[in-house]
Amino acid sequence: MKTILWIEDDSNHDVVKLCPAVQREPDWIFHIVPDVTQAISRIKSNRYDTIVLDIRIEPGRDKNWENLYIKKGASKNSARLGIELLYSMLNPRNDSIKVSEVPKWFSKHLIGILTVESLNELKDDLKNLVICEERYIQKKGGMSKKTLKNLIKRILSNK
């Protein structure tokens, strides 16, 4: 069995059609969380083989993340908390929120990014986080229902 976490606040709506292809995989356990607070909680309590995340996510109930969200313009688009979460857990910067007890299994090799942001917008961050571009897919009109499933498969096979 492979466990997969998708950090995506749109999973019940705009990108809900991406779910069935993953949910129908018999050997996959698929968890979805909508915000940073729940993502950190899940990562600390479960071990995942793949974590796919969106960049424009909400902070959830954690005050530190909420403050960062407000400081960065109180908008998912400007706050880009997905990237901030990756920095905090993979390569903390001076102004990053400290995440205590990051599990040892957590690494850049199991990360996938599915977001509306273009590669150009993310290039520098991906470079800083040492995440290769193959692990990124842009959400856009006309994408296949199997987009998420294929990304997960790619990460599982490259791990």
Partner: protein
């Protein structure tokens, strides 16, 4: 001229006086007694000191001319400390001439500077009187006095830049008590940048004069002082550079002011007129850095006196601008916010907001003008961009309307449906409605599989082509729907995926069954298998079709709801964006009831799609408020849209919004109340909900589309009308610890307060 009492005076003095009269010196000369009484004064002195002449005799006393002289009332004698000191000195001069120091004399209430060179006249070993010459040095001494008293620093350097003279003002300017502290030192010692001293010298040798050389000097305490230096060269007899002299002015304040002027982001300038009428030139005589940058000039070029007319793109525009300035000037006003196109030195055209006033001489004649200009090209670009955004948003609105019609038109092929598409359903309700179809499909698959379980040969065949295996897999997926999905929203596409797959699978089975003639050997076998269970295959096919069709209809309904949901935010965003570009709407009396009705009309379809009832429990009074109708309707529509969007749906009844009005002195309160999504206390207290782009913490539900601009816009409109906006969100249910139950609806009350128009 002699004293009347000359006969009684000392013979020696008389003798000396006679001798002096004979010589008739061209300078003011005199002989006085020891007490200062004149024995003799020549015409030059009489004229200089305006001596008292009575009946052709001089009757005066030199003591009274000293500036500090006072008359002793008791003795009737004049006394002067200065004179007393001079006489003291004289006693030690061995009857030699004592070269006087410049001294102040008071003549007819005027102060004059004189040098009194005098000599003691001895008779029999004692002082008989004094012989003296007085030279008027007023002019020279006044200059010296001025030199010392001038607030500007004055200096003189020799050819090696050594300070040979400075006045007190300069010494004080640099923090020294006396000039002597500076004299003899190299001037460059006092320059923050010693090279500047050399630069001045070089410029002097080249041009003979240096004006307005601004530099920083070092003060005694180490701090710096910004000064303007003026210098002219001193030449020797061979006309070679022999030093320099000039003034130094403390321009620290001016420098600070200039620094300030240069740091502001608007251009300032001053122009001097030359000539009259159409040929009049307008030379720039001063401007700040922002002005230089704006027009891509360097300071030096401007000093050459460029004509400001050259900076305007169109001469006709300039003519109109000048006319407008004249018209305003006649009313005693400057011209303000005048938009005009200009061109930089490098040919960049841009638009400025010009503000200017004439400068005038004492007779009120216009001699120039000064002004402030602001580059508003970016602002204009922003306005153009807003227009573009407005157009794009408008086309989106049109697209949504078209999409709405298109989506509704594809409903009919999907009928009959097991739900009413006009009725609002949340995803949980949808899942409950669809449940019988899922159960029916599961039962039909189970029934079909039961037929294949015992016929071993066929079973192998079915497995070979994957049919049985796939049926079993779909059965498992359909049964575990709740486990596999984490929300009812996800369950629907999940089920649809299964249903769709099963429709295709059973269609294929039915096709094989229906086209016997074309079957190959393998299909022949399948034909036999399927024939025996055709009715069950058809059952699965029908059940999966039903499920798929209803789920498609539900997806369609969701899409239509979303279109309706997006329509208002998009419209409101367009209004908000373009609102800034529109000319200010004229305010007028607006009936509050009409404003509410207009807002409701706009959202009635959306309210229906959400099963939200808009109620008026009390009377909406026929009250007028003074305002911009468009803005107020937009504000109320925003509030109403929020109320509809965030209203809480009970299973048993519709959601509702109560709209009412109340009075409070001269104000009217428009109140919108509903049961809805909670707003956290801090979101209200910290005004987060009013931040542009902020979406409520508990409103992240994707079914509630929004831009996060609604309340920001409402607040702006309300403030513009001198009103207030308050939001309250109270829990309806609390737990045993009195903690709000966030899973239950909150009562949200929004109160818009406006001034009543009387």
């Amino acid at each position: 001229m002699f004293n009347r009492n000359c006969e009684s005076q000392s013979d020696v003095l008389k003798q000396k006086a006679l001798e002096l009269e004979k010589i008739d010196l061209p300078i003011a000369s005199y002989i006085v007694e020891e007490n200062g009484e004149f024995v003799f004064a020549n015409d030059n002195l009489i004229k200089l000191l305006n001596l008292n002449i009575i009946d052709g005799f001089v009757e005066d006393n030199i003591t009274r001319f000293y500036e500090d002289a006072i008359k002793n009332e008791a003795t009737g004698e004049w006394e002067s400390v200065t004179r007393k000191r001079i006489l003291e000195k004289m006693k030690h001069s061995n009857s030699e001439h004592l070269e006087g120091q410049p001294t102040k004399f008071k003549v007819r209430n005027n102060i004059i500077w004189v040098v009194n060179n005098c000599k003691e006249i001895i008779n029999n070993g004692s002082t008989a009187g004094y012989l003296g010459h007085i030279i008027n040095v007023t002019e020279e001494e006044s200059f010296k006095d001025l030199f010392e008293r001038l607030p500007a620093g004055i200096y003189r350097l020799d050819k090696n830049d050594i300070i040979i003279k400075v006045n007190k003002a300069l010494a004080n300017m640099l923090g020294y008590d006396s000039s002597e502290e500076l004299i003899g030192n190299e001037s460059k010692k006092y320059f923050s940048n010693p090279e500047h001293s050399e630069n001045i010298k070089n410029k002097l040798i080249e041009n003979g004069i240096v004006n307005d050389f601004q530099t920083d000097l070092k003060k005694k305490d180490g701090t710096e002082l910004t000064v303007n230096i003026f210098a002219s060269q001193i030449l020797d007899t061979d006309l070679k550079y022999n030093g320099r002299e000039g003034t130094i002015i403390d321009v620290s304040r001016k420098a600070t002011y200039e620094q300030l002027v240069n740091s502001i982001p608007v251009g300032t300038y001053m122009v001097r007129f030359e000539g009259e009428g159409e040929t009049r030139k307008q030379h720039i005589i001063d401007c700040n850095k922002a002005f230089l940058d704006m027009f891509e000039f360097e300071n030096l070029e401007l000093k050459k006196g460029i004509d400001i007319s050259e900076l305007y793109v169109n001469k006709e525009d300039l003519y109109k601008f000048n006319k407008a300035m004249e018209a305003n000037d006649k009313e005693g006003k400057p011209i303000t916010n005048y938009r005009i196109n200009v061109i930089s030195k490098k040919g960049k055209t841009f638009t400025i907001n010009a503000n200017s006033a004439y400068t005038k001489d004492n007779d009120g004649h216009r001699i120039g003008r000064a002004g402030v200009v602001l580059d508003i090209s970016q602002e204009l670009s922003l306005i153009e961009m807003r227009d573009d955004i407005g157009r794009v948003l408008h086309s989106y609105n049109t697209l949504l309307s078209s999409l709405d019609l298109s989506l509704r038109s594809v409903y009919s092929p999907l009928y009959p449906l097991i739900f009413n598409p006009k009725k609002f359903m949340n995803s949980e309700q949808t899942l409950n409605i669809i449940e019988p179809l899922r159960t029916r499909l599961i039962t039909s698959i189970e029934s079909l599989l039961s037929d294949y379980s015992i016929q071993e040969k066929e079973k192998i065949e079915l497995f070979r082509i994957g049919l049985k295996e796939n049926l079993e897999k779909e059965l498992l997926l359909l049964s575990k729907c709740k486990d596999k999905t984490s929300s009812s929203e996800q369950a629907l596409p999940y089920l649809q995926e299964s249903a769709s797959y099963l429709v295709k699978l059973t269609n294929r089975m039915i096709t094989i069954q229906k086209s016997k003639k074309n079957q190959n050997k393998n299909n022949d076998k399948l034909f036999k298998i399927f024939k025996s269970s055709l009715s069950k295959i058809i059952n699965v096919n029908e059940a999966s079709s039903d499920l798929e069709r209803n789920l498609c209809a539900m997806t369609l309904k969701r899409a239509i709801d979303q279109v309706l949901e997006m329509e208002h935010p998009l419209n409101a965003l367009r209004e908000y964006v373009l609102f800034k570009n529109r000319p200010v709407e004229e305010k007028k009396p607006c009936k509050i009831k009409n404003l509410v009705i207009l807002a409701e009309d706009m959202l009635i379809e959306f309210a229906k799609s959400r099963n939200v009832e808009i109620r008026y429990p009390g009377k909406i009074y026929d009250i007028f408020v003074w305002g911009d109708e468009r803005g107020l309707v937009r504000a109320i529509t925003n509030l109403l849209h929020n109320a509809i969007k965030y209203s809480w749906h009970k299973r048993t009844s519709n959601a509702w919004i109560n709209i009412s009005t109340q009075f409070e002195k001269d104000k009217v309160l428009l109140i919108l109340e509903n049961w809805g999504v909670p707003i956290d206390e801090d979101e209200i207290k910290d005004k987060l909900i009013f931040l542009f782009g902020y979406r409520g913490r508990r409103s992240g539900d994707k079914l509630r589309k929004g831009t996060g601009t609604g309340l920001t816009d409402v607040l702006e409109v309300v403030k513009e009308h001198g009103g207030t906006l308050e939001v309250f969100s109270e829990p309806t249910v609390r737990d045993s610890f009195n903690y709000p139950d966030y899973d239950k609806p909150f009562i949200t009350r929004v109160v818009m307060t406006l001034n009543i128009y009387k």
